[in-house]
Subunit: 190 residues, 4 copies
DNA sequence: AATGAATGAGCTTTCATTCAT
DNA sequence: CATGAATGAAAGCTCATTCAT
């Protein structure tokens, strides 16, 4: 298929994303990636020294992007709105965040020589969690969120909602709304 | 340090479970498994024709066991109690169910020749979901669960709660209670 | 060519020796080795985890063998006879010892994470040198070897004679004799 | 940290020398070389068609240089002085000559299509040897060197002394003197 | 049955080398 | 000329799987 022009970092990350979602961390190969990009396998090594390096930088990249979106949300003053919007963001990036967690878990499981990259990813994850916890604590201080549940637990639930399969295939906003309603008001009949 | 003469299916599944949780589907090897069991690697082939076969039967096994527990719950008459207990069961088997999902996803991703085993696992998953949905619908009919949310959505949330990391390390019953309270009453301050 | 029986460690080392002499450390591949042995490449990995491991154990093996021969020489009482015989041994194993040195150098050049195997090989090398130095010092004490040259320097010369290409293709004993005469009496005309 | 515009052949050879000594023939890469020179890897191809070509010309270059030094020695009239000075030259260029031999061996081992470059290098080596042999024969004719040893054998010993590790780290002239004394007078006590 | 031994398929990685700018 | 980018070939290694005992 002849020689290929440049590899755009954008394409590289896009394909990485796709493969990671489709196949997961372990199923992710430079072979498949190269095929996706119609590039020679070794070409990718010109950009990243190995699979872990590439994935790490990819994760870092998306993580930063998502973090940026989260930060913007904090400009709102209403903590409930903030919470709802954070939920929407998490749902929107569900698959990507899922990848992040998967990668993190994998590194943790296989790292013999306690990797520093692991520490970085850990920090990334915590950043998101911090934001959530803070918003919830804020809501609690304002008495719009009940105080008899630990902010931490609530944050866990919100953060994990990412993983809830939207089996009814609602669009993101609708699904976000449904979940928020459920979490906020509960399922109890009134 | 001699080799065992017989492999007990119980040991086999126990080691499978352990490795699967620790390493995930792709990190699961007959090599490691054989070591765990102090058996020759090839011995395992006397029991299962290949890796997938073993994992499939293991999953089927635990799935049946969990399903049994769920069934027992239905003997209660109060649908809220049923719901809470289902939640507890799911949380208790969190890691195992997580494996099931992972395996299912993996088969889905790598199967070119639409596997029949996949169908079986899919059915397994659906069984759990059915039970949940039925209990919820029941609760809705009895007006203890609100009707303006689809039973399906609620079921998704409950089922996915498995994946919520219990970061505060509460014991299972406490964690189950916390989650149930949250899902039932919501986080809204009263 | 069908399936092959067992790999005999003897054959493995024999082929290792051959390839190492022929191609040197870097030119030594499991691919070539496997071909030599008419075995699948991966088969060798059942015995040694990697190239370095194999070569290390091979070197250790021959080194021990040669060391044994040297030890036997020390049973003689005449230090000159000892010296001559050590020379013969070194010449006989010239290629092998050359490999040892090459391997040692290579490990030294490429080891980032100061390898312990390197230390072992270093010790091996020193053992030989010690023997030589001792025999020479002994000769000096007995006034059969001149004292105005450092035993160390003399030992270096003897030890390095291994590397002197026997371009005239004398048989080993003759070549050994020639060298010994040269080293002992010098080239000066009388 | 920009790239240089021109590669000076002097720098090229200097870096080649350095890398060759440090890493040996197989460890010698254009990658590393380019880095050393702060040049693009492909730039080197503008000067030499490939790795072998470069190394060949480098070897030829230094060989010629050393040969020149040897030639100058022949202006002396005393064959013993000549011999001693040749020894000094060889010791001074020990590492370089060692490279030459290594490269020669490597080409010999890997060449399927009996390379003509090999022949050239072989000739180079022989040139040195010829000089040595001639000087020795001369000494023999003048009865300053004993006649009962073949000039060839003696030459081998002198030429190989290059490889004798100067473990005591004497300076070159001292080491040369020590070796010459040893070779000339022998180690026998008087 | 149980196993040790052998193997092939498939992925990783490194470099010499080519090519278009 | 100089170079950045792409690539293929060749080694490396790991594991599922098969086979003879």
């Amino acid at each position: 298929m002849g020689r290929k022009k440049r590899i755009e970092k954008k394409d590289l990350f896009e394909s990485t994303r796709k493969l990671l979602i489709e196949k997961g961390y372990e199923g992710f190969h430079f072979k498949a990636l190269a095929e996706q990009l119609s590039v020679g396998r070794s070409t990718i090594y010109e950009y990243y020294a190995n699979k872990d390096e590439l994935i790490f930088h990819y994760i870092k990249h998306v993580s930063d992007k998502i973090y940026g979106e989260c930060k913007k949300v904090l400009e709102h003053t209403d903590s409930l709105v903030q919470l709802q919007e954070l939920l929407t963001i998490f749902l929107k990036h569900g698959e990507t965040i899922h990848d992040m967690i998967q990668v993190y878990k994998h590194m943790k499981a296989s790292s013999n020589h306690h990797d520093e990259k692991m520490d970085v990813l850990e920090k990334e994850n915590e950043r998101f969690f911090e934001i959530l916890v803070n918003v919830i604590k804020c809501g609690q201080r304002e008495f719009v969120i009940r105080n008899d549940l630990q902010a931490h637990s609530i944050a866990s639930v919100f953060f994990s909602s990412i993983l809830i399969p939207n089996t009814l295939n609602m669009d993101i906003d609708q699904w976000s709304e449904t979940l928020f309603t459920l979490f906020f008001d509960g399922i109890k009949a009134k």
